[in-house]
Subunit: 230 residues, 2 copies
DNA sequence: TAAAAGTTTTAGATTTGTCTAAAATTTATT
DNA sequence: AATAAATTTTAGACAAATCTAAAACTTTTA
């Protein structure tokens, strides 16, 4: 990929969306991508033809599609930009977790490679964005996060919160109330099979009970989730 | 003007260019604007018709045009964004004076009003950008800078460098070499009518001679050019 | 002041990204 | 397996921003 290769904002959005959908479903279909981009299936077909011509996707008509290596690299650069800007907005400009997405959607399409590398350095090479999602490095390498949700965690294993899967303001409020946030170290003290709720212990605090619903949204890992790279 | 009024990048570029050209020439003409935007007169006419419909310019065919009040406010918001981003790039991301323009051209089209106000606060409400150009405030008020170029300055009047009009790398290097930069306090000790060159004295340094060419590009003012607002 | 030169606008095309409606194809259902 | 349902693609249109070439208008000049 050429160093400052510029794809249109719309193409970048398509690549990014395909990347995310692929992670869940493997092959992506026209309707699913259209829904995810709030556009029409016909428009997706149009765009996919262009992406295929530019050799960014593997696509045969009526068969669905996925990114090839070039496409994946391009998508990861967009994701890198998005997540670094989100980090900037939250950590430097004091935005809340929940208000940064829209703005980052715009900022992610600024082309300059140098800009994004300088921003990365300015932010101290963060490894994950404010939602706990990992930030690809300059080469498009995504740090592997052995991330599981709380309900899969064994008893008494000490981990750190590395992400929140579904972030409604209500959910965030509940977690805030229980002193659980990104980077919080905690462990499970007891599991209640009746409703799959959990008793969770945060250091220096009385134990709290979390519903299965909440537990599934709290992602944890046993490495240092907010450590700096390099 | 609605708080988050969004004009297309191209419209913003036209408004901004008209604003700048107006400062020099009063009324702006099709060819001049086309040259300034690196586009064709026909394209300018097309765009001007749209800007007229949106009530941003005063324009009658074959007669030239200028911004009305709405248009001026819109232009100043773009200029505000551009200059704040330039300041950010230089002061926070360690870019050089000369490399920020292109990138700021992209960043200036990000819409969010909240983003730009937060950025302003994060930067400490700077009053001028890294080139010494004044940054309009949130209401589009441009701090008045009684800025003159060095060749117009009377003898022995102590002033501060508040801007550099034409910034070639060569010019910047020359100024750098003579210890003249933004904020430098200096005064004129002698004028040579033969070639309009000047002898200039910077505090704690031996006097230096500047050509008329250079003197015309060094803008100075007798107030504090880099003071913070509010 | 009429012709020449220059400027500006119009007319008609082009590109990119999008849409609707209809046709083609695939998948599901009786 | 034939038909119905759903999905995907094609065909044709549209809006925004741009272009070229030609026409309309202004300004300059001889």
């Amino acid at each position: 990929m050429a160093p400052n290769m510029k794809y249109s904002a719309s193409k970048e959005n398509h690549l990014k969306a395909i990347f995310h959908l692929q992670q869940e479903h493997g092959v992506v279909t026209t309707t699913v991508l259209a829904a995810s981009l709030q556009t029409r299936p016909a428009s997706v077909t149009d765009m996919l033809k262009k992406l295929k011509e530019q050799k960014l996707v593997i696509y045969e008509r009526y068969k669905g599609f996925k990114l090839n290596n070039e496409g994946r690299k391009a998508a990861l650069q967009v994701i890198r930009k998005h997540r670094l800007w989100e980090y900037f907005l939250v950590k430097k400009l004091q935005f809340g977790w929940d208000e940064v997405h829209e703005i980052a959607e715009e900022l992610e399409h600024i082309a300059s490679r140098k800009l994004i590398d300088r921003l990365d350095a300015f932010l101290g090479f963060p490894e994950s964005d404010p939602h706990g999602d990992p930030i690809p490095d300059g080469q498009g390498r995504l740090p592997v996060r052995r991330q599981v949700n709380l309900s899969q965690l064994p008893l008494n294993k000490s981990v750190q919160v590395s992400g929140i899967a579904s972030q409604t303001p209500e959910m965030l409020e509940l977690l805030q109330y229980n002193h659980i946030r990104l980077g919080t170290r905690l462990e499970i003290k007891k599991k209640f099979p009746f409703d799959d709720s959990l008793e969770v212990k945060v250091r220096n605090r009385p134990p709290v009970t979390l519903s299965a619903r909440v537990a599934k949204s709290v992602l944890v890992s046993d490495d240092e989730p907010l450590a700096e790279r390099r």
